[in-house]
């Protein structure tokens, strides 16, 4: 479901004419067949609170589309031209704010520009010149809408129609925009109509063969998703079932969770072959030591050529066995494995 946001009712005039809008919350929130229309008010604060509230109340919203008028900072833009916003920035009382938001990159036939949301009205050419290094257009609310969406991370699109080019005549801009409301709003409506059918594809869920035979906990599911993606990149020409023997894991006597662990291990083996091979060689090398009950470990990042040994001895015999194994241990071999002395 789309949430269409406008600062002023005038900007939404054509939408009121073309869509069968039904009021659901006073005169600010309306619904239509495919979504909601919110009249937010101007500035940073009203839109921030209103959009936050609507997003909390309607979890079915899947996308936000901000529509409205904007002033041109870039002198190459023309009045009444529709612009697709790329990135949204904020200027508060003359200070640019670091945090920015990126809009969805849609394939639309409009010029792309960055939009600076300004806490002040930009009326003079001089002011516009100062802001131009940040963005090509200026509005009063887009950044606030994006900020309200920060936690939800819903895809956002913003289409702006150029209402004015800051100059000496800008003092009367509010009146001019009011008088041109239908024309500007119609331009926005026509622009929005072009994206109306372009619905977002739902995120593809990870699917592995015999999925219902395994039990993945929540954190294991997230690891599974990450590893599946990595395998897709690493082995673009292979299907998962060509890389992992799912049948033998499914047919084994293990519990569903153990089977899931086994799948993740197999994936890890494919993604980290070098590390696994080093670990296996070290395990083989320390077999004599571990057989006496010692625990052997290495630097987890394989940076240092150190061997850490831990053990408990209850009698002289155990100590003797351990010292025999220690004297047999091939330290140079271990060092050569950890120093990466084999060919890649």
């Amino acid at each position: 479901m789309q949430l269409l946001t406008f600062a002023h009712r005038g900007e939404a005039k054509a939408f009121f004419e073309h869509l069968e809008l039904e009021a659901i919350d006073g005169n600010t929130l309306y619904k239509f067949t495919d979504g909601l229309v919110l009249i937010m008010g101007e500035g940073v604060f009203d839109p921030l609170s209103k959009v936050s509230k609507v997003l909390a109340l309607y979890p079915e919203i899947s996308e936000i589309i901000n529509l409205g008028v904007a002033g041109a900072l870039n002198p190459n833009l023309n009045k009444d031209e529709v612009i697709q916003v790329r990135s949204s920035y904020l200027e508060l009382e003359g200070n640019p704010q670091f945090h920015s938001f990126t809009m969805r990159n849609r394939d639309l036939p409009f010029k792309k520009e960055d939009c600076l949301t300004s806490s002040r009205r930009v009326l003079s050419k001089e002011q516009a010149q100062k802001l131009l290094p940040f963005a090509g257009i200026v509005d009063r609310e887009l950044w606030a809408v994006a900020r309200a969406n920060k936690e939800n991370k819903l895809p956002m699109t913003s289409l702006k129609v150029i209402s004015d080019i800051p100059s000496e005549e800008s003092e009367q801009i509010c009146q001019v925009v009011k008088e041109s409301a239908l024309k500007l709003s119609t331009a926005l409506y026509n622009a929005w109509s072009q994206i109306d059918g372009d619905q977002l594809q739902p995120e593809e869920k990870v699917s592995i063969p015999y999925f219902d035979q395994f039990h993945f906990t929540r954190s294991m599911s997230s690891t599974l998703q990450k590893r599946c993606h990595q395998l897709e990149i690493k082995f673009p020409d292979n299907k998962l079932e060509e890389l992992i023997d799912f049948n033998s894991i499914v047919e084994s006597e293990m519990r569903p969770k153990e089977k899931a662990i086994q799948i993740l291990d197999e994936m890890n083996r494919l993604i980290n072959p070098y590390r696994i091979s080093v670990e296996e060689r070290l395990k083989k090398l320390t077999h004599g030591l571990t057989s006496t009950g010692l625990t052997c470990s290495f630097d987890p990042h394989l940076e240092k050529s150190n061997l850490h040994i831990k053990g408990t001895f209850s009698n002289p015999n155990e100590l003797k066995k351990v010292s025999e194994q220690l004297s047999k241990f091939d330290f140079e071999k271990m060092k050569s494995i950890l120093e990466g002395d084999d060919r890649v």
Partner: protein, 333 residues
């Protein structure tokens, strides 16, 4: 090339500014100071593909900085100088994507100030040491050199300071400006190269390795000293064979003993840069590499694999004919 060009009022009449604007055929917008705009808002890195702006101004503060340990050939002091920010290329592993919070380019025109700082360093360096100055730490030093126009200035400066060395480091094949100069033994042009397969995958918009080798050959024929950076090396199952092919391709055009030095380094990231790679290139094969993420925040291959890669390629370089003591490991202590 650039959507908008912003020029600091203080340098609007600077000959280098005028040279750049003339080359770009661009009408600039005058601004007070680059620092008031560049990086003040976070501009997405990938916006460089269709919305790259240029800032021209003076570099304030320190312009020549001490390089980290193991940056260049051991034994001599190394410095880099800040003549530009950002790059027109788009390599998936590039640390610039997490560095400036903006992909816009900045050209600094006050090269005389940089030269003054270099002069001071040269005068303080013991006579038995050679101070090295590296261009291209925050940008490609040659890719746009036909526009920036400072190459001849540095040739003149280093001709007058034969006891210091200058490195121009590039991923480009743009050697036009160097070709115009008479070779100097203390001005070395170095090329960062990766095997062709890797360049195609990761080094977006960079010229192919074969084109860069041809440019190297031109400089070799003209007698300009050359260096190589096999950095970053990214592990593959055919790493050895791929580098063998690359070295063979180079040696077909230039005798390997001609190179002043070859540096080897494996791919590594800071946490911030790695996060940017994840955001910008979610399908990059770099994200499937066997990296460790230790507490020091430096994301890299495990020590054993890193040493394995470096030793193999170092051995290969020496076997193929590079001079042994000129092959060094970059950023490995």
């Amino acid at each position: 090339m650039f959507e908008k060009v912003f020029v600091e009022t203080a340098v609007k009449d600077h000959p280098r500014t005028l040279h750049i604007l003339n080359k770009l055929k661009s009408d600039p917008v005058l601004i007070g100071s680059i620092e008031d705009y560049f990086g003040r808002v976070r501009k997405p890195y990938l916006q460089k593909r269709d919305n790259l702006n240029l800032f021209i101004g003076n570099k304030k503060g320190q312009t020549v900085k001490e390089a980290p340990n193991a940056y260049g050939l051991a034994g001599d002091p190394h410095f880099y100088f800040v003549h530009s920010y950002n790059c027109i290329y788009e390599c998936e592993y590039c640390y610039l994507q997490g560095y400036f919070n903006s992909p816009d380019l900045v050209f600094f025109v006050n090269h005389e100030d940089m030269a003054k700082e270099m002069e001071l360093i040269i005068s303080k360096t013991p006579k038995d040491k050679t101070p090295w100055f590296h261009a291209g730490e925050f940008s490609d030093s040659l890719a746009l050199s036909h526009i920036t126009g400072e190459i001849s200035f540095y040739f003149d400066f280093f001709k007058a300071h034969p006891n210091a060395k200058l490195e121009f480091r590039t991923k480009s094949a743009n050697t036009r400006e160097i070709e115009k100069m008479s070779p100097l033994s203390n001005v070395i042009t170095t090329f960062s190269l990766s095997p062709q397969e890797r360049t195609l995958k990761t080094d977006k918009s960079c010229p192919p390795a074969s084109t860069r080798i041809l440019s190297m050959q031109k400089l070799y024929k003209a007698g300009h000293p050359l260096g190589l950076h096999f950095d970053p090396i990214i592990h593959t199952n055919n790493l050895y064979e791929e580098y063998e092919q690359l070295i063979d391709d180079i040696s077909e055009k230039i005798p390997l003993e001609y190179f002043e030095y070859v540096s080897l380094g494996v791919v590594r990231f800071t946490k911030d840069v790695y996060r940017q790679v994840q955001l910008n290139y979610p399908n990059s094969d770099l994200l499937t590499e066997e990296f460790i993420k230790p507490e020091d925040g430096k994301i890299r291959y495990p020590g054993s694999l890193r040493k394995n890669i470096l030793k193999s390629i170092q051995k290969l370089c020496i076997e193929k004919g590079f001079v042994e003591d000129k092959v060094y490991l970059c950023m490995e202590e």
